[in-house]
């Protein structure tokens, strides 16, 4: 390392390709995230349930004594409901992880005015958002659809090619439902992080949007004797989409297409909020 050079020198070495700049942000943000022991512990905790599911799948195919207990055998039936339940549990864990991680992504940059430093470089606002979003996207993928596909692969290898072919749509449903949940969570967490400078407040707001949103939706439904309130309940909307994707019957108050539309509108609003906030300088008109 040429630290003996104490005067300014120009740089004329090789440059990395422009598309890889978002990965720089991803790398540094991930490194910073996993410096927190709590964060790392929480992340590791998210793999306990997939491991349990793996054991259940193995047991369902290998323990002959389970066959003797009809109820238990029925209980561990590996079908669409099993994978839906898996995605629901991992989705909740993903939400908890996002509540810890998401608020710390953009708010520190805004609090200390670091955005002009990012954006005065050959690095666009879209790349900045993409780089920050990819931190959540990769982390949530690692606990949702990737272990889901591993479970599906294990089940397929144990149950045979026929089962895999007949139930291939479950793999697609797992990926699609996880990706939708990841997009909703990432955009919501980043939009809140961008509008609230304090990390703790941004985390509380994310919890508030989910839980108070659900409570507010119920209150609207009860007071106005309507079902419109469900559109304010992101968890309910997500549940509706998931059950339709996993072909599970559910007495829904709103149709899957309505739920899809509402979720896409939420994503568009979050993206607009994010784009409005992620600027080098605010223009005061």
């Amino acid at each position: 390392m040429a630290v003996y050079r104490r005067t300014y020198t120009s740089y004329s070495g090789p440059l990395t390709p422009a598309w890889s700049r978002s990965l720089v942000l991803l790398r540094y943000s991930r490194r910073k995230l996993f410096q927190s022991k709590l964060q790392t512990a929480l992340f590791v905790l998210c793999f306990f349930y997939p491991l349990a599911c793996l054991l259940v799948i193995y047991a369902a195919h290998n323990l002959s004594f389970l066959q003797g207990f009809g109820g238990v055998a029925e209980f561990v039936k590996i079908d669409n409901k099993f994978f839906l339940y898996f995605i629901e549990v991992q989705g909740v864990l993903g939400f908890v992880l996002t509540a810890f991680t998401g608020p710390g992504l953009i708010s520190p940059d805004l609090a200390n005015g670091a955005l002009p430093l990012y954006l005065c470089r050959p690095f666009s606002r879209a790349e900045y958002i993409l780089g920050k979003a990819s931190v959540l996207a990769i982390m949530l993928s690692q606990i949702t659809w990737i272990p889901g596909l591993v479970l599906f692969a294990v089940q397929s290898s144990l149950a045979g090619a026929g089962w895999a072919w007949d139930h291939l749509w479950i793999a697609g449903s797992m990926v699609l439902s996880s990706v939708l949940w990841i997009i909703v969570l990432s955009l919501l967490a980043m939009a809140l992080s961008a509008w609230v400078k304090w990390r703790v407040v941004a985390g509380a707001l994310l919890l508030g949007v989910m839980f108070f949103g659900a409570g507010f939706a119920q209150a609207i439904n009860a007071v106005l004797r309507t079902q419109v309130g469900h559109f304010l309940n992101i968890v309910y909307l997500m549940g509706t989409v998931w059950t339709s994707l996993f072909r599970v019957d559910m007495e829904g108050k709103i149709t899957p297409s309505e739920a899809w539309t509402a979720l896409l509108i939420y994503c568009a609003i979050c993206l607009a909020l994010l784009v409005r906030r992620v600027r080098a300088y605010e223009v005061v008109k």
């Binding site: 005067t7 300014y8 020198t9 090789p14 440059l15 200390n112 005015g113 002009p116 430093l117 050959p122």
Partner: protein, 292 residues
């Protein structure tokens, strides 16, 4: 450049070519807006500009890859060490990780933060944060360095250090500097050319050295043994003179040099105790520009 109904920059036509250019103007003159527009943060409502040959409307990315920018306000990531911060900023400019790390160390040594480079930026004093901002601006080896109020909030010794550092970077002759400040002294100490803005318009643009040379013609002498003969001889050269006790003030016409004054004094055995050029300071230039 217009924000809503308010026109911030107007009728601004100039070409800046100097090695170190000072951007001067009172508060609200449009200095920072000009910089932000050149960096592509604001889209100009009309007109065009080129930075190092690249159009600010269509080649923003190229401009940003060639420019190092030190913003006016606090800009850092508090939970990051200075070396990681500068390395990340260099990587975002396209340097490979190993080269970026090397450049980060070099830049921090260059600005004098070598001993504190592993400390978190949040623990830095204001002066150190300014230096860290300068380090991130030079780490990727830009062709143009834009410094927005680099001495803001610095104590006199820190200010001196910052000015010396900017002068060193300028003297390396490897990049051009645009220094935006409302402190005339900072610009006078570091810049060769000056662009003065007033209410978004170009009030004055000049080369400081040439401006000073043009004002070298005012001369003030303190003499011993001078008499009317000495003054007469000087007036014969074409100088306008004013005598006050043992002091003589004069304006040298073209073609007359200081050595001619020395010659006349030697011939008449007049001792010159003091000789001052009365130069226009940057303050004079600035006030003239504001007045016009």
């Amino acid at each position: 450049m217009r924000f809503g109904k308010r026109e911030i920059l107007k009728d601004l036509t100039c070409s800046l070519r100097g090695r170190a250019i000072g951007l001067l103007g009172p508060n609200g003159a449009g200095k920072s807006t000009l910089i932000n527009t050149l960096l592509g943060f604001y889209k100009p409502t009309h007109g065009s500009a080129r930075v190092l040959g690249s159009d600010i409307r269509t080649e923003t990315r190229r401009i940003r890859s060639l420019v190092g920018y030190m913003p006016e306000n606090d800009a850092f990531i508090s939970k990051m060490s200075a070396v990681s911060f500068v390395q990340m900023m260099a990587e975002l400019c396209g340097l490979p990780p190993s080269a970026a790390l090397e450049r980060a160390h070099e830049a921090l040594f260059c600005v004098g933060l070598a001993e504190a480079r592993y400390r978190e930026l949040g623990t830095y004093s204001l002066g150190m944060k300014q230096l860290a901002k300068l380090a991130q601006a030079i780490a990727h080896g830009p062709k143009l360095l834009i410094l927005d109020e680099p001495t803001n909030g610095l104590d006199p010794s820190a200010r001196q250090r910052m000015i010396r550092m900017i002068a060193d970077i300028r003297d390396s002759r490897q990049l051009q500097i645009v220094l935006c400040s409302h402190l005339l002294r900072d610009v006078e100490d570091t810049c060769e050319e000056v662009l003065i803005l007033n209410q978004g318009r170009l009030a004055h643009y000049s080369n400081l050295e040439e401006e000073r040379k043009a004002n070298k013609r005012f001369l003030e002498l303190e003499t011993y043994g001078a008499n009317g003969d000495f003054t007469e001889a000087i007036e014969k050269l074409g100088c306008e003179c004013a005598v006050m006790a043992n002091r003589l003030k004069m304006i040298l016409p073209d073609g007359v040099e200081v050595r001619d004054i020395y010659r006349i004094a030697a011939e008449r055995q007049v001792r010159i105790r003091r000789l001052n050029f009365r130069r226009d300071t940057l303050e004079d230039i600035f006030l003239k520009a504001m007045g016009s």
